[in-house]
Symmetry: D3
Subunit: 244 residues, 6 copies
Amino acid sequence: MLDFLRPDGRKHDELRSVNFQNGIAPHATGSTLVKFGNTQVICSATIENKLPKWMHAQGLKGGWLTAEYSMLPYSTLDRKDRDISRGKMDGRSIEIQRLIGRSLRAVLDLSKIQEKTIWIDCDVLQADGGTRTASITGAYVATKIAINRLIKDGVIKEDPFKDAVAAVSVGIFYDEEVLDLNYHEDKDASVDCNLVMTGSGQFVEIQGSGEEATYSEKQFNNLLAIGKKGIKELVQLQEQAISI
Amino acid sequence: MLDFLRPDGRKHDELRSVNFQNGIAPHATGSTLVKFGNTQVICSATIENKLPKWMHAQGLKGGWLTAEYSMLPYSTLDRKDRDISRGKMDGRSIEIQRLIGRSLRAVLDLSKIQEKTIWIDCDVLQADGGTRTASITGAYVATKIAINRLIKDGVIKEDPFKDAVAAVSVGIFYDEEVLDLNYHEDKDASVDCNLVMTGSGQFVEIQGSGEEATYSEKQFNNLLAIGKKGIKELVQLQEQAISI
Amino acid sequence: MLDFLRPDGRKHDELRSVNFQNGIAPHATGSTLVKFGNTQVICSATIENKLPKWMHAQGLKGGWLTAEYSMLPYSTLDRKDRDISRGKMDGRSIEIQRLIGRSLRAVLDLSKIQEKTIWIDCDVLQADGGTRTASITGAYVATKIAINRLIKDGVIKEDPFKDAVAAVSVGIFYDEEVLDLNYHEDKDASVDCNLVMTGSGQFVEIQGSGEEATYSEKQFNNLLAIGKKGIKELVQLQEQAISI
Amino acid sequence: MLDFLRPDGRKHDELRSVNFQNGIAPHATGSTLVKFGNTQVICSATIENKLPKWMHAQGLKGGWLTAEYSMLPYSTLDRKDRDISRGKMDGRSIEIQRLIGRSLRAVLDLSKIQEKTIWIDCDVLQADGGTRTASITGAYVATKIAINRLIKDGVIKEDPFKDAVAAVSVGIFYDEEVLDLNYHEDKDASVDCNLVMTGSGQFVEIQGSGEEATYSEKQFNNLLAIGKKGIKELVQLQEQAISI
Amino acid sequence: MLDFLRPDGRKHDELRSVNFQNGIAPHATGSTLVKFGNTQVICSATIENKLPKWMHAQGLKGGWLTAEYSMLPYSTLDRKDRDISRGKMDGRSIEIQRLIGRSLRAVLDLSKIQEKTIWIDCDVLQADGGTRTASITGAYVATKIAINRLIKDGVIKEDPFKDAVAAVSVGIFYDEEVLDLNYHEDKDASVDCNLVMTGSGQFVEIQGSGEEATYSEKQFNNLLAIGKKGIKELVQLQEQAISI
Amino acid sequence: MLDFLRPDGRKHDELRSVNFQNGIAPHATGSTLVKFGNTQVICSATIENKLPKWMHAQGLKGGWLTAEYSMLPYSTLDRKDRDISRGKMDGRSIEIQRLIGRSLRAVLDLSKIQEKTIWIDCDVLQADGGTRTASITGAYVATKIAINRLIKDGVIKEDPFKDAVAAVSVGIFYDEEVLDLNYHEDKDASVDCNLVMTGSGQFVEIQGSGEEATYSEKQFNNLLAIGKKGIKELVQLQEQAISI
């Protein structure tokens, strides 16, 4: 049987070309410009030597990691107003930055970065689908670079990372399960699912939504299968990017 | 083998006592006070005879459904400040109200409610875990009551609902997969998963998160299994509540 | 002379049916759902073991009581946008919550609740005129229940209440002075007056406004007379509700 | 019997020295700087040739009058932050500007200023008690001047004012009923009452509040009596100021 | 050669009539109502016995001066909405208040007012061009009066002022360089330049902007020349105003 | 005489290394990443086919150009909070974006881009002094690229640019006039001056400020001289960048 023909010629379980340009933001402790095809996100990790107020208020110890996500106004085909012009963040961005934070914290032992906050910033330079999965995948690279620098500088002793973390989207596009959807596929997909997994194959987050549609258990299992394949490849690319 | 002992004596795959008190908000088109054990949510559906501005701007036709979720200040053990006092909605509430909206829209044919917006409001009166799943489950009942009234009054001709929709939480509590977590279970759960499914057993939304934890595919499959059992029971309770 | 015929058949000096459903919000220290006819308000009192910042800043001792008032979106015939959606509280709600706070503080000896803040929350579930007077009347019941619990639990020693407090509206409707106006009367009244009085018949607050109208001293005296009658009845109903 | 000795030597039923400096804001249609002793308020009336949006939305005809009240930062002994620095108006200012608007509208026949909005602005230059009553009293003068100019210029044909309107405070200070309280009296008063009345002696608004205190009907009647005397004098002073 | 005819008959290098009415805001430590022709600004200086938070956070010592600028709603020909009604300050006002603050700080030795903040408030009562230069010129007078009072009261020992400071606008109007533009000149000027200078002739700030226009070095030098003349006259008028 | 030794070894009238990386934001109509030494700014120009509301309201024709400026959180040595987190733009950013807009509009004939708005976005990726002058210099390149594309695509017929525009900072650092200050020079400079000039040597904007300092006319003339030299070089570099 011939494979399903995707708009950009990819196979149904094929990632877009993925790469990392480290050091894009020299003032951050770690940074990378991650590309999933035409989707480009500036990911940075900055270390602050204090904890958020709510941790102090609750008497919590250890460290913390928090993430912010934003689309630059020129990242979309039609210019997107800045949050500050509209007076509030849009709900979608809030959802995404909470997801990025949870994903990174799931693979970190924060007790190993006492009294420090890691700030993750993901700013989308060009949006072509999958900005949240590119953000998580790039944020891991930026944070790992930052952590390696802290260890090298003797600021912390042990690596707080328990595992790597990467993310990819899968979805149902014209009744076919496909991996790593670009904007045109995403727009027409009936089901949109984002997988966040660790380097050792554990799940961190599964988010499968049918906007004005539903899906069967069989379809969901197919999505999980191609998603796991994609994550495996992304984790390898992350390793190569960090080792440079 | 003896079943796992839960704090409130329930079996691992047992729902809390669920019921619906319809008509709680007489000025809404449809309303119900849904209870999942001690969790109580006022759910209402109000019909407005116009579409949101963005639909007009994009030239979209048909109808729309939008949802708002809020915790009343006295719903929690420590009083929760109102959104307006803090100057913004918290991110968690934004995530939840977007989920409620998507869940209801997935089972509605909005082309059948031309030029109307259905406003869903979910206000938590008492919070004891599972407020988002109780909200979705109650919002379906309130909306179905509202739709039935519109049909009876001759305002719309056909039922826009393609199926029922209900939601339940599942999670891993002390290494055991459990159904419909209350607050104390939720607080200590390593994995928290919310399932939204239709009356006919299709998935609408799967959200599985490990906050500072990860989970295996086997664990995930166990969670899905008990979740599906819970949804089946909820859909029956919804039917009874609506038919009264 | 025959009495004036009111739209709902009441005499000019007759209250609507008033009752209290205590314990509506189990997580509050005290709560009641007060009904003045079709007007329903959830009133709760929550105790917080600290004082507001401005009291510390001014070096003030004793305790404090503060009130918040809000209309739930489905409480009105046309859905009312939430404050957070509009970005600010409306002026009317601010006026009302300030009035509720002043009314309760007038009958409390706050020096008897050292270092505690009583939070009053009044959320209107159904609005049919008189929501501010129902709120004050219900807030007293909720607060008295909360105070009784604190005394029973040994948290405070003496009852800080010096007297009961209740409120009722009076107004001029088609040239007739009437008691406890419902929405349709209120809308067409030329003068609207709210009376807050104590159990022993002292005034706490008199607010008489003619919106695009004025009134004579004789009319005002008639309004006071029927208002005092209404307050006397409300205070008895409050006592019964609390004693249960 | 000797009269009660007030801090500034006035009799209990004596106004402070009151005067009006018209034309303080030359770009407004009408303006005056009103002084009640040391209390000084810039009052202006500006005519805008359109109605507020909500009137159009509700299909209302005629004209409208709206008021804004603000304390300049240097009007108080300790500098008061601007509303825009605190991010919101304080509740007291909102109450006052709503009261100013209602008071003026009560004596206006707005159908005579078709498709116009009168903007009243009251900015307190120096605060020494009674800023709201000085604002209402000055706002009438500013508005009457503006109306006279419109009539003279042939913009409107008939005077929309049905009567004059003035306001004064009365209160209980060390058990004595006193008229037109200054800041030091106001601060220590157990009961604070604001009267708004017309030139012909009708009531527009009565607001009597006991902050942490209550009052008897006899006390209230005494307050009304001296308040009426004060209003009579203020109305004469207004007439003189306008006729110049 | 005959001099260029300006709309109000002034010579090209002639100031409008300038005067100062000190004590306009009696509760401020120092205040003046400055007039540049029809432009009128209430300028006040209030002393607060604490430093801004950011100075404490950065461990800075000495004193501070901060300025706020606002246009009263009735200062313009068409009523201007208040900042709080629009929800934010306009960019122009922010620019102006930053300029006022920098200008005053340039001539102050803040180490001589330990642990004090000088608050400058400039509220425009009537706007007819040059409100920012009138504000700076008046703010110096108000602050100098306040400082003189502090010295007289023994609160500070040495005068922190190193020099006087004044400001004037110059611009190119129909190809002619003119001094102190009024609103009609300003509106049609191709180049608008604001000069802030000290009593001894040093520059504090030069801001020359061509809105949709550019200018040559020769033109700029002509502007500087007439500006210096205007500043010299303003400094003399300031001295007279303070010495009264 | 030997030239003054600057921290990075430059001569007093020497620019940092300047270059442009065009096409950094592919979804914008024109974009460039401009570098002035370590200062890096993403500059983009996006064309929107409508005018701002205020132009319609004022009945204005032609086109418009508006600019937004922001510092990315990781552009500074200590992470800078996003505007949306602080709830408002900081005053410095507002000043800068207004300057960018005025500078570009001064060299554009907006009547040649009927019914179009050019949106300039300048996002600082790395801040090392001179971000506003780099932004203006880069914004011209991005806008010129965008205009060239519109002409090539036949969307507009004539080039609206009347001239090129570039900007550079000059300042007094340890009593020496220097060109194009980096962050360490800027921090210690007593006078900071920004020059905006056209390709043909006309002034667009001169902003010279002494923060807690003043300067003489001789010093100012020296600053202008080296600034003009810098602008000349920048204009050549812009031409090269555009011609590629």
